[in-house]
Symmetry: C2
Subunit: 135 residues, 2 copies
């Protein structure tokens, strides 16, 4: 019940829409939600917010480091709560399911590659598009 504190901690006023959206991200069974998903979820809970606010709030949350925005190849963004542990994503082309995974070897290789080209790795986006293995 301390969403209000969490918001203030990152410099955001604890307004109702922000609190509700944060709750949704924390409690939804979907770890990866589109703005539309969040919006529908709000309406379902009887809240009266506009899409514009959903986008504004999610963008602020991203800037504050509370959520991470992913861009998969689907034309729209998906947002997930930043739980502090970095991971990448695997999207099943058959079911649309999103699987998270961590792999330090890949992370290290990326840093090394950037380094070799005279750059410092700032961020990266890795998405594997996969299909269930045939039995």
């Amino acid at each position: 019940m301390s969403e209000a504190q969490d918001l203030k901690k990152v410099g955001l006023k604890a307004t109702l829409p922000r609190i509700r959206i944060l709750e949704i991200l924390e409690n939804s069974r979907l770890r990866h939600m589109s703005a539309e998903d969040v919006y529908k979820s709000l309406l379902d809970s009887g809240e009266d917010v506009g899409m514009a606010t959903v986008y504004r709030v999610l963008t602020q949350f991203e800037a504050a480091g509370l959520v991470i925005r992913q861009h998969f190849d689907s034309g729209h963004s998906v947002f997930e709560l930043n739980r502090g542990v970095h991971h990448d994503h695997m999207v099943c082309l058959k079911t649309g399911r999103v699987i998270e995974f961590e792999n330090e070897a890949i992370e290290a290789l990326q840093r090394k590659i950037a380094e070799e080209h005279g750059y410092v790795l700032e961020d990266h986006s890795l998405v594997l598009y996969v299909r269930p293995k045939e039995k």
Copy 2:
């Protein structure tokens, strides 16, 4: 001058817009062009094509394997000629420059990770966002 043949080879009629667009992709100094870039380039050469055709043709080229569509985090797609050698991309956050790189170790790791989760790797998207190394 064999763009016409290249097109027929992949089952596409050698129409003027398709030939011109293929030429642009082959000759532009930018390896990665947005639909807008291609469109402007066409206009500059005095060609009279519509954006709709640019998108239709680029999409057909992608389906035919002639070009590869990338999605970077910028909201719009960029297209590059498929030169047959797979590679990933590094985008400089300071200059916007796009650098291509190949790394078989990363490719192998990705296949292994998908495998470990019971999937087969079908495709992937890896983009490193980097900044010039301080001297």
